[in-house]
């Protein structure tokens, strides 16, 4: 099975190394004008190391391809064994990929970090705790809907401070939590999930913003903007005075 996967891996590596070798030739190698230095020698070129790297990668990917073909990898390459996934595993990977993609690309930049992360924790815990396909799909759909709404309604950076996507995420998070609690009565993990999903992001974002004074995503989010306001206006004067 591993050699069948190696067959695909080697093909991808082969294509990537050829592509990047071709791109490397865009960098002047012999006697070109480099960063204002004209008629420079070959050893000055910024292409020299990348050329070596991608040539070596090309050679090694050919060797890997030969090894995999000799071991029968090519014969199995188009079977489910060769691809390495059965239907359940493919669904598991796809739903996780969807959740992570919409979380990073849709929710983190546009939606309050506590809300987005709460939804993520709920979706991942509920969706994958028992390994049931319908739960995976339900969780991925909830995150995808929230992320898709945020991306389509507020794609440009200038609109990232809007709050309607925060409300949509909050509603989806509550709905998913209620659905999870109703479906999994008596399950200790699912019962603890709402508390973890709320407490963990609140603690983390507050520790980062006020403890370590680091930059945090979407400071103007629905909940975090209130926390920040009360930290500076209500709480901080208490110990500063």
């Amino acid at each position: 099975m591993l050699r069948a996967r190696d067959f695909w891996g080697a093909l991808v590596l082969l294509a990537a190394s050829i592509f990047f070798l071709w791109r490397t030739f865009d960098i002047p190698l012999w006697g070109g004008n480099r960063a204002g230095v004209s008629n420079a020698e070959w050893y000055n070129s910024a292409a020299i190391v990348p050329l070596g790297i991608f040539s070596a990668l090309l050679v090694l990917s050919v060797i890997l391809l030969i090894i995999s073909i000799r071991a029968g990898g090519a014969r199995q390459a188009l079977t489910s064994v060769g691809l390495g996934w059965d239907r359940i595993e493919a669904l598991r990977f796809t739903t996780i990929a969807v959740i992570l993609f919409f979380y990073i690309a849709g929710l983190v930049p546009r939606v309050d970090f506590i809300l987005g992360s709460g939804l993520l924790i709920t979706a991942l815990t509920f969706g994958f705790h028992k390994g049931l396909p319908e739960r995976m799909i339900l969780s991925a759909s909830a995150v995808a809907m929230a992320g898709l709404y945020a991306m389509t309604q507020h794609f440009p950076q200038a609109e990232w401070r809007a709050h309607d996507d925060d409300w949509v995420t909050l509603v989806l998070w509550i709905a998913l939590t209620i659905g999870a609690l109703r479906r999994a009565r008596g399950d200790r993990v699912i019962r603890a999930m709402p508390i973890i999903a709320l407490v963990a992001p609140v603690l983390l974002v507050c520790a980062m913003a006020f403890g370590f004074r680091q930059n945090v995503p979407n400071r103007g989010g629905l909940i975090f903007s209130q926390i920040e306001y009360h930290y500076y206006v209500t709480l901080r004067p208490l110990w500063r005075s």
Partner: protein, 502 residues
């Protein structure tokens, strides 16, 4: 003698400064608990613990304090991996894989408490051996490193990547090399270090500054663990923790030769560029099996076997810091994350590093090992309780941690895209048994390799003999060539034939 006294005096000063500062204890205890937790939870690693803390501290917390937390978490995580190895037969980190061989058998025999206590003591002594070696050898190597110029640095960086690829590969060695080359290729993105020529930016201004280390580390080490770990699993049978944990002095004395030998082996393996604690554990276990009086018991519940790997993996930490501090080449994947922290704080590890930092690192290591020893002995029964925590509970929190960590260090959404992209690539690579550590070592050393290789050529006017005319460079070139040649089939066959005849 005078050298040793100077060293000890310097170390004493650094240690005193450390212990009189109350903040030290806050950073150390919290990071140690976090490190042990990361080590104890299968699926989380020491590298991840150090990387996440690097993201949290960034450059907003003084390096003096962030080093306490990073090293505390590093020491704690390597030690914490022994808990599930002994009680669940699942190594918490790769470094404890060899520990599980004997640890679980001992726990099943009702000697889990004794095994945990001796492991804690051995890890403590191992860390001290590594720290002592760091204190002594780092200075000797620093003196030697005055003769190291661009050709040597380039060849050493290449050697680190090749060696890491060779030793970290579970499957074919060329997979390790490919992984290292992918890392090197990633380091080529952005403005080149000598002429500021743009490379592979595809017109995207974010790419001009190249790939940031922290998002790459987070992506490479966290995202694949999250994707792989989000599945329904039946937890293993937790062996009952019976017996007294605190070991008796006579038991420790009985195993002292094994602990000392393993400490030296662990430190030595750690000092090899790019080779991690897991290799140290296995090498020491292998040596232990061949020299121990109870070698027939190895794998069936031998204390010698248990202590061989557990001492070595903790001793490896000090060893791994030697090439990092002296040459700027990380000795292990967590040390690569530490290098990221140094870089974030504009400190370039290598021959020009401030000696006070080295002394502080050694002092922190000694204090961290003491903290680990005490916390380990007195809180072991509490940590045992977290071993059965399902991955679906803590991995989503890790995802949130890595997201906020990556975002904070670079301050941009693009870093998150990079983290996710690297994460998916690393997941597919791990699925095909490509080791991830050489990739990260490649990303970290790529800039150094590119700059020093081209500077060597520039200074010599394109004369390639610059890599053979200097003794250290020639030796390193020979080592690189030997490493590659040792994997070529007909050379391997010839060598095997020669050794058979001999």
């Amino acid at each position: 003698m005078e050298f040793l006294i100077t060293q000890l005096a310097g170390f004493g000063g650094a240690f005193l400064a450390l212990i009189v500062d109350p903040l030290t204890y806050i950073y150390l205890i919290i990071s140690m608990l976090l490190g042990i937790t990361f080590g104890a939870l299968p699926g989380l690693t020491a590298t991840l613990a150090v990387t996440i803390l690097t993201g949290f501290f960034g450059n907003k917390v003084p390096l003096d304090y962030s080093l306490i937390a990073l090293l505390g978490a590093y020491v704690g995580a390597i030690y914490g991996g022994s808990y599930p190895a002994i009680l669940l037969n699942i190594p918490g980190t790769a470094a404890s894989a060899a520990t599980a061989m004997d640890g679980y058998q001992l726990a099943k025999l009702g000697r889990g408490g004794e095994a945990l206590g001796l492991t804690t003591t051995a890890s403590f002594i191992g860390t001290l051996i590594g720290s002592t070696a760091l204190l002594i050898f780092v200075w000797l190597l620093l003196l030697l490193s005055q003769n190291i110029a661009s050709p040597e640095k380039a060849l050493l960086a290449l050697f680190g990547i090749l060696l890491s690829g060779t030793l970290m590969s579970e499957d074919l060695v060329i997979k390790g090399w490919i992984s290292g080359l992918i890392g090197l290729a990633m380091a080529m993105v952005g403005l080149d270090p000598l002429l500021s020529e743009t490379r592979y930016t595809f017109g995207w201004s974010y790419m001009l500054s190249g790939f940031q280390v922290v998002p790459v580390l987070m992506g490479a080490f966290a995202v694949p663990q999250i994707i792989e770990g989000m599945r329904h699993t039946q937890m293993g049978q937790l062996a009952e923790l019976r017996g007294r944990i605190t070991p008796s002095l006579s038991r420790v004395r009985q195993h002292l030769p094994t602990i000392a030998r393993s400490g030296v082996i662990g430190t030595g393996v750690g000092a090899l560029p790019g080779v991690g604690e897991d290799v140290a554990g296995w090498v020491s276990y292998g040596v232990g099996k061949s020299v121990s009086k109870e070698s027939d018991k190895f794998g069936k519940g031998s204390f010698d076997g248990l202590l061989s790997s557990e001492t070595a993996n903790n001793a490896c930490i000090g060893g791994a810091l030697i090439p990092l501090l002296v040459l700027g080449i990380p000795g292990s994947p967590p040390a690569a994350a530490l290098m990221g922290a140094f870089k974030l704080n504009n400190i370039i590890p290598g021959p020009t590093i401030d000696p006070a930092i080295i002394l502080r690192v050694v002092a922190i290591m000694v204090l961290a090992s003491l903290a680990m020893f005490l916390i380990g002995l007195f809180t072991a029964r509490i940590f045992v309780k977290i071993l059965l925590l399902p991955k679906v509970v803590f991995l989503p929190i890790v995802m949130v941690l890595t997201t906020i960590g990556s975002f904070s260090v670079g301050g941009g959404i693009n870093d998150l895209y990079l983290m996710l992209g690297v994460g998916f690539v690393a997941y597919f690579m791990a699925m095909q048994k490509f080791p991830i550590a050489p990739l990260v070592i490649g990303v970290i050393l790529g800039g150094l390799f590119d700059e020093t290789f081209r500077r060597s050529l520039l200074i010599s006017g394109g004369d390639l003999t610059v890599f053979t005319s200097r003794p250290i460079a020639a030796t390193l070139l020979g080592l690189n060539l030997a490493l590659v040649a040792s994997q070529i089939p007909f050379i391997k066959r010839g060598f095997a034939r020669l050794t058979r005849r001999a």
